[in-house]
Symmetry: C2
Amino acid sequence: MRELFQQELHEVQDRLVAIAGLVVTSITDAVEAFNKSDVTLAESVIARDSIIDEAVNELDEHAIAILARQSPVARDLRIVVSALRISSSLERMGDMSEHLAQLARYRFPDKVVPKSIRPTFQEMGSLDVQLATMLVELLKTQDTALAEKIRDEDDKVDKLHLSVFETVLSEGWVQGAETTVDATLASRYLERFADHAVSIAKKMMYLSSGEWNPSES
Amino acid sequence: MRELFQQELHEVQDRLVAIAGLVVTSITDAVEAFNKSDVTLAESVIARDSIIDEAVNELDEHAIAILARQSPVARDLRIVVSALRISSSLERMGDMSEHLAQLARYRFPDKVVPKSIRPTFQEMGSLDVQLATMLVELLKTQDTALAEKIRDEDDKVDKLHLSVFETVLSEGWVQGAETTVDATLASRYLERFADHAVSIAKKMMYLSSGEWNPSES
C-alpha cells in the first residue's frame, strides 16, 4: 500500500516534468515562429496547446484522487498541493506560447515586429526558452539553487520588457498602430511567461521548506 | 470533532467571499480611477492589492491545514481543492485591478484613453464590476445559474475587447504610440479580469458536479 502510494507520488512528479517538457517545445517553437515568421511552426504550437491543457487536467485529476484515497500529510501532502498549483502555471505558460504563435500566424508572411526592435525580442525569447528548460531541471532534481537562477533570468526579461516600451515610446518609433499593438502584446506575453516560471520556482521552494509564502528575497 | 470540521469548511467559504468582496471594491475603484483620472483612488487600489494577496495566502494556509488534519473526502475535499484554485484566480483579479489603477496613476492628470474610445472602456469596466459582484453572490449561494450569467457577461467583454482593437487599427485612430500602448494594455487587463471570473465559475461547477473539467458549453 505504502509502496503504491510512493509510486503514485512519483507519477505526479513525472507528469509535471512531462508537461514542462511540452512547454519547452512550445515556447521554443513559438519563439522561432515569431522570429522567422514560420506559419507551419506557429500552427504546431497552437495545436499543441490542447495537448498541454489535457495533460494538466489529467494531472489534476490524478492529484485529487491521491488526496481522496491516500490522505497524505506533511511532505507528501505538499507534493500534491504544489503539483496542483504548478500545473496551472504550466498551463498558462503554454497559453503564452500559443498567443505568441498566434501573433506570428496573423502577420504572416510579414514579421510581427520591425527590424530595429527584433534583437530585443530574440533575446527575450531565448531567455524564456532557457527559463523553461531550467524549470524542467528544477522539477526533476528539486535543486533549489535553480530557483535563484530562474529569478535572475526573470530580472533580465523584465528589463528587456521595459526597454521595449522605451523604444516604442521614443521619437524614433515611426510604426503604425498595428505594430505598436503587436509589440506591446508580444512583449507582455514573453514577460508573463517568465513570471510564471518564477511563480513555479516559488512553489518548489514551498515544497522543500513547507512555508507557503516564502519571502520574496 | 465533526462539528469543528464543518466550521472550518465554512470558514474557507467565508474567506473566499471576503476576498471576492475586496476584489469588488478594487475593480470598482480602479474603473472609476481610470475613467475619471482619480489618482487618490488609484493609489488606494494599489495599496489594497497587498491586503488581497495576504488574505489569499492565509486562506491557502488554512485550506492546506484542513487537508493535513482532517483528510477530507468527497464533497468536503472538493470544497478545499476548489478554494485553493479559486483563491489564485481572485488574486489575479486583484492584480488586474491594480494594473488598471497603475495606468490611471501614470497618466494623471491626463485620462488614459481618448474621448472617442472612452465609452467602450466604461462599458467594459462596468461589466467587470458586475462580474465581480456576481462572483460574490455565486461564492455565497453556490447558485450555478449564476455561472451561466457570468459566461454571458464575459462574452460581452470579449466583444468590446475586440472592438477596441478594431478602433485602434482603424484609419480614424490618430493617437500616438503611448495612447495605443495604454489602450492595448487596459483592454487586455479588463478582458483578463473577466476571464478569471469565468474560470472561477467553472471551478464552482466542479464543486457541485465533481467533474474537474466541465465541458465548455
